[in-house]
């Protein structure tokens, strides 16, 4: 068996030489804030991951072009190291680890996608390096480590906001209580959090809402017929579903073909997407959705952002662009208030930061004690003719809600 051993031996030796060749210390530079980022630029999450990359780089460039950030009197530029985790959770965590231990970054910007960020978020605690994620809203990620911050509000607040909106419709006489809800959830963390928000609200408002039926479904289910048949048999008044884009399209097509009718319809964060409009046409009318951001928000800073973004990229900004951009901005705001670039200094600055001209709903961005930003959501409703209106909260309204949905 000698040849096997020899083969094995030569192979391993060559490999270790190759590995050794890859390692090499990186020199530190003065007057520079080293920021690391790990995003799914390729792979399954590449569509939005790539958008996060684009917006992050844009934001960093904007800051650097504007003179950088002044930390403790010293002007500094941001040096961004952005790595691609190819949408693989294990790789994602390892890259964050690498950034912290090898490249010795001062702070890490987290990725996009709950499962990827979940994997990444166990790392900051080990090395005591601050970490800010703009791409995951699952509550389970935050509150476990003081080093982990997130700008995406929890998905259960998304559904709670939707329930608030529905309540307001009852108060305004457009809908009559008691209302029964048909709740459909994708079998992911996102779906679980969404359900939590609805459950909590229903419990707190007995007599107003009740859940007639609750069902889970797998991502990319080929046939929603059995599910929708079961749901329609439960005879509810409101249709609340949390789904990804492909499932939303498949399900709503079936919904329309089956001639189902509910007084109000939502697919969580979906509905206003251009892709949805394209796939479903007028069937998307009157669907209401909640998002972390909408370009319709009537704040001057949002209008300014829209214009800047359109000029720089030639297309309208989507919520993921806004979130990635704002995450960099809030980091910059914190850094400018930090007494030094030491990890604890940056961390305390993040915990205390209060960005007052934020483009996010509410106009103000700061982190809650768990490290996650708890911001209001906006509720938008599709209107005929490809129009979208913000219908909740009242302060950000651009149009009135239509409820119940007109029967076709």
């Amino acid at each position: 068996m000698k040849p096997t051993t020899r083969t094995l031996g030569s192979v391993l030796l060559a490999a270790s030489a190759a590995f050794a060749a890859f390692s090499g210390p990186l020199a530190a530079a003065d007057g520079v804030i080293k920021v690391g980022a790990v995003l799914p630029v390729t792979g399954k999450e590449s569509k939005i991951g790539g958008a996060y990359k684009q917006a992050t780089e844009y934001a960093v460039k904007e800051i650097n072009d504007g003179g950088g950030i002044t930390v403790a009197g010293k002007p500094m530029k941001i040096e961004l190291t952005l790595l691609d985790d190819t949408s693989d959770a294990a790789k994602s965590a390892q890259l964050v680890e690498q950034l912290m231990t090898q490249q010795k970054v001062d702070v890490v910007l987290g990725g996009y996608g709950s499962h990827l960020v979940q994997a990444q978020s166990v790392v900051p605690e080990r090395y005591g390096i601050p970490y800010v994620s703009g791409g995951a809203g699952a509550r389970g990620i935050y509150g476990r480590s003081k080093w982990v911050f997130g700008t995406l509000s929890p998905v259960d607040i998304l559904s709670a906001t939707q329930m608030d909106f529905l309540s307001s419709l009852v108060a305004g006489g457009k809908l009559k209580k008691p209302l029964k809800i048909a709740l459909l959830l994708e079998n992911t963390e996102h779906g679980k959090d969404y359900a939590q928000g609805v459950h909590d609200y229903v419990k707190a408002h007995p007599g107003e809402f009740s859940i007639a039926i609750e069902e889970n479904f797998e991502l990319n289910t080929p046939d929603f017929k059995p599910l929708l048949t079961r749901v329609s048999a439960a005879k509810a008044d409101l249709f609340m579903c949390d789904a990804h884009l492909e499932d939303f399209i498949a399900m709503h097509r079936l919904y329309t073909q089956m001639g189902l009718y509910y007084q109000m319809v939502t697919y969580g964060a979906r509905g206003a997407d251009a892709a949805a409009r394209k796939a479903l046409g007028p069937a998307t009318d009157y669907i209401f959705a909640s998002g972390w951001w909408s370009e319709l928000l009537p704040y001057p800073q949002v209008k300014a952002f829209n214009t800047k973004w359109k000029a720089a990229t030639g297309s309208d900004p989507q919520w993921y662009h806004a979130l990635a951009y704002e995450t960099v901005r809030v980091l910059a705001a914190a850094l400018s208030k930090a007494p030094s670039l030491k990890p604890e200094a940056i961390r305390s600055a993040l915990a205390a930061v209060d960005l007052k001209d934020s483009i996010l709903p509410g106009g103000q961005l700061k982190f809650s004690p768990s490290g996650q930003a708890i911001l209001p959501f906006v509720v938008t409703q599709n209107k005929p003719g490809d129009k979208v209106d913000i219908v909740w909260p009242a302060a950000s309204k651009t149009g009135d809600a239509v409820a119940p949905v007109p029967k076709s």
Partner: protein, 315 residues
């Protein structure tokens, strides 16, 4: 045998000493490769030696990972969970193996896909596994030095075990089963018994790797550990490296590990990694089904023949 023993010891010493002079990033890479080596070599026991191709091995990784995390959350020391995860995985492999080993060839392969996917769906749907949000290890259970050493030691052990099996009567029986199962039975080899045994051993080793994975990554979810694509890449490595050999799976694991690193550092390659993997598979299947090792042996055979000196076939 002695040369091999010395060699294994040397490799182990080198790898264990590595943290002293290598960067963390490189150590992570070695860890990844060690993980891949374990999976590839363990799979090869059933798939290469015995010739039963299973594309459902992610189920065992998942069982190992979840056993470790659940028990750790219940208060066990992470490393104390390893024997349990190996046992459970082996037990599951027997339950699955007994009915499915009646099937031959690709029917068996398809059955394994079915089982693995069913396990994934159930794991994602049931509450005590944390459902689709996954589970986290209890805080403070991370120790890279320890986890790195464990993975590396396990990798060397698994390869040594594979070499030992190949030379043993057990290995001979497996080879007979791969070549012609009916002839083997006629010669008195109880094929089902051997298949179940090697399957259980293989599953146990893979589960151990899964447990170590969970301990190092601290967070697992059904879609990450029970992924069908993971099952496919486990099959890829030994095939590309050289099915049924000892060095083959190691070679395959190293190659894929290397590719992963290279890919991440080159933007041009990043967008075409599917091309690369696919192309490699196609190339191997078309031109050298015995993998890189087979290619090496073919080339070496030609070179030695060109010196026109009779060389004893030391396959």
């Amino acid at each position: 045998m002695k040369t091999r023993g010395v060699f294994a010891a040397a490799a182990l010493v080198l790898l264990l000493a590595a943290p002293r002079f290598l960067e963390r990033g490189t150590l992570n890479d070695i860890w990844n490769v060690a993980f891949a080596v374990i999976l590839a070599s363990a799979w090869n026991l059933l798939g290469g030696f015995a010739g039963q191709v299973s594309i459902g091995y992610s189920a065992f990784i998942g069982i190992g990972a979840y056993t470790t995390v659940l028990l750790s959350l219940a208060g066990w020391h992470p490393y104390a969970t390893l024997p349990v995860s190996a046992f459970l995985s082996a037990a599951f492999s027997v339950i699955v193996g007994l009915p499915t080993f009646r099937l031959r060839g690709p029917y068996f392969t398809i059955a394994t896909i079915g089982v693995s996917e069913a396990v994934r769906v159930v794991a994602a749907g049931v509450a005590f596994t944390g459902g689709s949000s996954g589970l986290r290890m209890p805080a403070g259970s991370f120790d890279f030095q320890r986890d790195y050493s464990a993975m590396v030691v396990l990798a060397v052990l698994v390869v040594a075990l594979a070499a030992w099996i190949q030379a043993s009567p057990f290995g001979q029986a497996l080879r007979a089963i791969r070549q012609d199962i009916d002839a083997a039975e006629a010669l008195g080899v109880h094929s089902t018994k051997y298949k179940v045994l090697v399957h259980a051993l293989s599953a146990a080793l893979v589960a151990l790797a899964g447990s170590l994975f969970a301990i190092n990554f601290q967070y697992i979810s059904p879609n990450s550990v029970f992924d069908f694509r993971l099952s496919l890449s486990i099959v890829l490595m030994p095939i590309v490296g050289g099915l049924g050999t000892v060095a083959g799976p190691v070679l395959g694991a190293l190659l894929f590990g290397y590719l992963q690193i290279k890919l991440l550092s080159s933007p041009a390659l990043r967008d075409s990694y599917l091309f690369l993997y696919g192309g490699m598979l196609i190339a191997v299947m078309l031109f050298e089904p015995r993998g890189l090792l087979g290619l090496y042996r073919r080339v070496r055979g030609r070179i030695t023949r060109s010196f026109s000196r009779p060389v004893p076939d030391a396959g």
